[in-house]
Amino acid sequence: MKFPYTEKVLEHFKNPRNVGKMENPDGKGLEGSPACGDMVAVYLQVNPDTQVIEDIKFESYGCASNIATASIITELAKGKTVEEAKKISWQEATEELGGLPPVKAHCSVLAVEGLRAAIRDYEEKHGLVSEQEPTTVDVIRSRLKHVMNPMAGL
C-alpha cells in the first residue's frame, strides 16, 4: 500500500479507535469542513467532578485522513480534562500521525473542530457557557454547497 499517507495514518484509517455512537453523551459535536464537504461527529462522556473526559467516540463521513485524524484525536483527548482537551491543536494531531499531505491539513482541522464542538456542547449543556445556535446537518450542508467544483479526472 503506497498511499501518500504515513503508516500510522493508514493504521488508524484501517483500525480506527473509539469509533461509533454514544448513548446519552454529556457532549456532542457535529462539524463539516467547508474545504471538502466532509463531516465528523464527536461524543463525550465527562466526569462532572474531575472534568476528565472518561470516554470519547467519533463518527466520520469523510476521507481516510479524516477518519485517521478523528481516531487520533479521540486517543489524545481521552483521559484529559476538558480544559486540556480544548488545547489539542490540529498541528499536534497531524504530528502525532507522522504528517499529512498538505492538501489534507484541513482534515485534521475538521477533527479538532469536531472535538471542540463537542466540548462546547458539553459546556453549554452544563451551564458553563451561554448557548449558541446549534450546528445541524442542514446548517453544515448549506455551508458546504459551494464546495463542488470542476477540473479533475482521468
Binding site: 461509533g20 469523510g62 463542488m148
Partner: protein, 388 residues
Amino acid sequence: MGTMKRIYMDHSATTPVDPLVVDAMLPFFTDLFGNASSLHSFGSEAAEALLRARKQVADAIGALPEEIIFTSGGTESDNLAIRGVVPFNAGKKHVITSVIEHPAVLNTCAFLESLGHEVTYVPVDADGVVDVKILEKSVRENTVLVSVMHANNEVGTIQPIEKISEIAKKYNIYFHTDAVQSVGKIPVNVDDLGVDMLSISSHKIHGPKGVGVLYVRKGTNISPIVFGGNHEMGMRSGTENVSGIVGFAKAMELAAQRQDADSIHMTQMRDSLISRVFDSISDVRLNGHPSRRLPNNVNMSFKYAEGESMLMLLDMQGVAVSTGSACSSKSLKASHVLSALEIEDDFIHGSLRISLGRENTMDDIDYVVGALQETIAKLRAMSPLADR
C-alpha cells in the same frame, strides 16, 4: 501485500499493455531503431513501420492513412483538434463544447477564451447526455468548431454523435469528437459518426502510454501546434516515436478485432456487477445513462460512504477503482461531470467508478461485490449520518 489478490478495475484511467503489443514494440528499441526521417536503411525500416502503423490505425476507424496524425496522446490530440482549427479559420471565433468534456478539451477551450475566442458549454441531462437542442440553438454565424466527446470517461454516457454531426454539417461547422474512451468498447468509424476530427489515446486500449492519434478528415483547415522538422505531414513536428506508434497500431488492430467479443464480455460483467450491488447494498444509485453507456463503465454512488475512504479500503483488499468525489489526496474538488449531472448531495460524496477491462473475469466481479459489501458496511458503521 504478499500474495494478495490484485484486481485492476480502473481501465478508464489506463490499461495494462497487451503482451502482443509489447512483442510488436520490442524490435524497434534495439534493432529497428532508426529515425524515420533518415535516408539510409535503418531509416527506411522505421519509415516503413510507420507507414504500416498508419494504415493499421486508419483501417481500424475507416479512415485514410494520410488522415492519421500521430501525437503524444489523447491530450495533445484534443489540443491539436481545437487549437489547430479555431485560431486559424479567420473571423470564426466561436466554439461549442459540452460541460462534461475531459479537461484536455475544457482547459484548451479556457485557454482559447483567454485569447478572446468565445466558447459555449452545452449542458447535459440528468443521465449525462448532451442536450442537442441547446447545442443547435448555440450555433452562431461565427461558430467554427463543435467538440463533443463520444463517450464520457467518468460516467460512461455515450453521446448522440450522429445527431450532433448532422447539426455540424447543416451549419457547415467542423466537428471533433474525443473517442479516447469509446475505442475498443463500441464501434468507432469516422464516416458512420460523421466527424471531421477524432482523438484516440493508446494507453486506454492496452497500448503504450505517450502515444495517440488525431484523425483529421481530408480538406480540414488545420494548422500545427508544435513546430519543428515538419513530421506527420507538417502537422506535428518531433521525431516519431516509432516503437510507441507500432505498439499503438497493434493495440488498435486488436481493439478492432476483439471489440465485439470484448463488448459482450464487459457488458455481462457490468450488468452482473450492477445488479448484484443493487440487490445487496442499500442507498446506492447508478450515475450516468442506464442503457446508453459504455460496456465497461460502472459509476455508482453510495450514501454515507466517502469516495476516498471507499477507494482506499478497496485497495487494501486488492481492488483498484477510482472516485470522482472530493477529498482525494490530489484534489478536493468533486468531479465536474458528477456536478453537472446534479446528483443529490447525499450521493455526490460517495461515487465510485469501476471500469472493466478485457482481462477481468466473472470471478473478479464476485470478489469485488464482496469487497464492496464489506467496505460500505464498515464505512456506514462509522458515519454520523447513516440510519442504523
